[in-house]
Amino acid sequence: MSEPHNAPATAAPESHDDHPVEFDSYVRRCAGVFVVVVIAVALMIWTSYLPEARLGWSAKIGIILLIASFNAFIVAGFLMHLISERKMVYTILGFTVTFVIGLFALTLYAMRDFPLHTVTH
């Protein structure tokens, strides 16, 4: 079977936001994202090994999750193009974030929702 060859461009190649796609600029972008991800992972691991006497347990988890969120922002923003998407995508994500916050809020609420006179230790 013959391999499909490079197809003739039927239109100028454009990205989702109608800007021309340049291969080299994406290589640079990806290299940058990869370096940031590696640094973020290294920072998370380093933080997790910090003695708890120096940094409380909850502060440690908070910092680690903050770095993870930053990492996620970089991946979503630059690899999924979320920094320059259409309004429809942001609308879908807005609803999603609202529901996820609601889900977590219900969980946290349920943790403290005991019947009257319940003895907790």
Partner: protein, 258 residues
């Protein structure tokens, strides 16, 4: 019949239909993993101090998998870029890399699961507790052999990072064993969540690999006929793959580091 808006954007959404579809699907996926993460938070916060496992995971393997998945996210994006600039050879190369990286991730996950399933906690009739990797568990013999240590109390089993662990080969007569349990999902809440979250994530890796493999293999015929539509398929599969990477970005610190 021609399916509308496979290439050109719909005027009202500004996107081709498959892209709206994948974002709606990803929204439902966020809720799925969100539910499991909230279960994790609930159980983690409710656990008695000192009874939540810490240091049970192999951080080197977890970090390697994080890097592997990050690289695969990049090769997925580059595969899409290659399609956009009409270089099909590069597309094949980058998506081939993605498939290899996905396979690497799954192999490492398999090694991790095997390590856990071969790790045993053994309680003796006199109250002593041993834990370690099973070396010999031949039912024909009257003893088992583990490579592990004796724990002074059950609390020793939880926080492994806080202890200096020296392991040796220990022979335990079967007659003295009260209970013997490996580190499967039935062992405790932490492992139940670990297997559920990472198992579901691994299933997503398998699903994504099948789609990417299809586009790399038989699905590539579309490139000749309609390269723009093929490129959109690559973009949609890529968005799913990036989501899988995003989930791992949170799974890694939550399960391995905290």
């Amino acid at each position: 019949m021609e399916i509308p808006y496979t290439v050109e954007a719909r005027p009202d959404t500004g996107l081709y239909n498959a892209k709206v579809g994948i974002w709606l699907f990803l929204a439902s996926e966020v809720m799925l993993f969100g539910g499991l993460f909230s279960a994790f938070v609930l159980l983690r916060v409710s656990a008695e101090p000192g009874t939540w496992p810490h240091g049970w995971q192999n951080i080197v393997l977890g970090t390697t998998n994080t890097i592997v998945l990050a690289l695969s996210a990049i090769t997925t994006l580059m595969a899409w870029v290659a399609c956009k600039v009409r270089e099909f050879g590069k597309f094949k190369f980058f998506h081939g890399c993605t498939l290899l990286l996905a396979l690497t991730f799954l192999c490492i996950k398999f090694v991790e699961y095997s390590e856990h399933l071969n790790h045993y906690e053994i309680k003796l009739t006199n109250g002593d507790i041993y834990d370690g990797d099973m070396v010999s568990n031949d039912p024909a013999r009257d003893h088992v052999v583990i490579s592990g240590r004796k724990d002074s109390s059950e609390m020793d089993l939880y926080d492994l990072r806080a202890q200096k662990i020296s392991e040796s080969e220990i022979t335990i007569p079967r007659s003295q064993i009260a209970s013997m349990d490996n580190y499967g999902p039935w062992h405790n809440n932490y492992l139940a969540l670990y297997y559920t979250l990472t198992g579901l994530h691994a299933l997503h890796i398998v699903g994504g690999s099948i789609v990417i493999g299809y586009l790399w293999g038989p699905g590539r015929k579309l490139w000749k006929k309609d390269p723009e539509r093929f490129t959109n398929r690559v973009e949609v599969s890529g968005l799913f793959w990036h989501f899988v990477d995003l989930v791992w970005i949170f799974l890694f610190p939550v399960l391995y580091l905290t």
